[in-house]
Amino acid sequence: MKKLRFLFLGIFFAIILSKAQVISWYRYIEMFRFESFHMFGIIGSAVVISALLMLLFKSGKIKDIDGNKIVPKEKNKGYIRTLLGGSIFGLGWGLSGACAAPVFVILGFETLPAIVILIGALLGALLYGILSKKLPN
C-alpha cells in the first residue's frame, strides 16, 4: 500500500506538466527556436532547485522516508551513447513534442495519437534492447 504514494505522485506530476503547458507541442517549437523563455524557465528553475536538494541529499541533511541516505544513480559515462542517443531522442521530441513522461499524460488529451507514439517508443526501446550489446558506447 505504501507504494500507492507513487500513483498520487504520478497524478500530481501529470497535472503540473499539463497546467504549466509542458506537454504543449507549441512550447517545444518555441523552445527549439529559442524564441521563448517559458520552457527554459521551467527546466532551469527545476534544475537549480534540484541542485540545492542534491546538496542536501549529499550532505545527508535530507534522508529518505526510511532514514537511508539518498544517492542519485550514476549515469553511464559513454560519450557516443549520450550524445548520439540524446540526439536521436531530440529528433523525436522536436517532431511530436512527446517526451518520456508527457507521452503518458498526452494519452488523456489525444488518446489515439498518443497510443501511436507510445507504440513507436516501445518498438524503439525494444530495438535498443536487442542491439544494446552491439552499439558503440
Partner: protein, 185 residues
C-alpha cells in the same frame, strides 16, 4: 480554485517539478521516466526476444504505479483542469508556423496538423507520430535517460553524461524544428 484552472507560469511549474523530484527521491527511488519503456517491454514478454528484457519487472512496481498516475492525471487535466488551452506564443514562432500552413496556433496544446484523426489516418501523419515515438524510445534508452532523468536529475547532480545528453537533446530538437518540420509541412 481560479488559480488551479488558469495556466501556470514557469515559476510555478519549474519549482513544482523540483518538488516531484524531491518526493520521488524521498520515497526512496531514483527519479526518471524513460526506463518505463523497457519495463513495459518486459511486462509484454520482450524477454522472449532478447535477454536484455529478462528482468524482474515487479521490482519496478512503484514506477508502473507512477505511470498509471500519469495517465490518470492526464485524463483529469484534459477533462477538468485545463478549460483554457490558449497560450501566448512568440509572434515569430506563430508567423513561421503560419507560413508552413499551420492553423489555430496556440489555441490548443496539440496541433490539428499532427494530432487530428485526419492526420493520424494519413500515411504521413501516422509515420510522423510513430517515427517520433520510435526516436524517443530508442534514443532515451541509448542515452540512458530523458528530460527527467538526464536534464533534471542528472544535471542537478552535476553529472557530465547528463550534460552531453542534454546537448544531444537540443541537437536533435533543433534539427527537427528547423529542418524536418519545414520539410514535412
Amino acid at each position: 480554485m481560479d488559480f488551479i484552472l488558469q495556466p501556470w507560469p514557469w515559476y510555478v511549474g519549474g519549482p513544482l517539478i523540483a518538488l516531484v523530484l524531491f518526493l520521488y527521491f524521498y520515497f526512496g527511488k531514483n527519479f526518471g521516466a524513460s526506463t518505463n519503456f523497457e519495463t513495459i517491454c518486459s511486462i509484454a514478454g520482450a524477454g522472449k526476444i532478447s535477454d536484455y528484457f529478462k528482468k524482474d519487472w515487479k521490482e519496478r512496481d512503484y514506477a508502473i504505479l507512477f505511470v498509471v498516475g500519469l495517465i490518470i492525471g492526464g485524463f483529469l487535466s484534459a477533462n477538468f483542469l485545463t478549460p483554457d488551452k490558449t497560450m501566448d506564443l512568440n509572434s515569430n514562432t506563430v508567423k513561421e508556423l503560419t507560413e508552413m500552413g499551420f492553423t489555430n496556433i496556440g489555441n490548443q496544446y496539440f496541433p490539428t496538423e499532427i494530432f487530428s484523426k485526419e492526420a493520424l489516418f494519413s500515411l504521413k501523419g501516422f509515420l510522423i507520430l510513430l517515427v517520433s515515438g520510435f526516436c524517443v524510445g530508442f534514443g532515451t534508452r541509448y542515452a540512458g535517460g530523458c528530460t527527467s532523468g538526464h536534464s533534471i536529475t542528472g544535471l542537478s547532480s552535476l553529472q557530465l553524461p547528463s550534460l552531453l545528453a542534454t546537448i544531444g537533446f537540443f541537437i536533435g530538437g533543433i534539427i527537427s524544428v528547423w529542418l524536418l518540420i519545414p520539410l514535412l509541412f
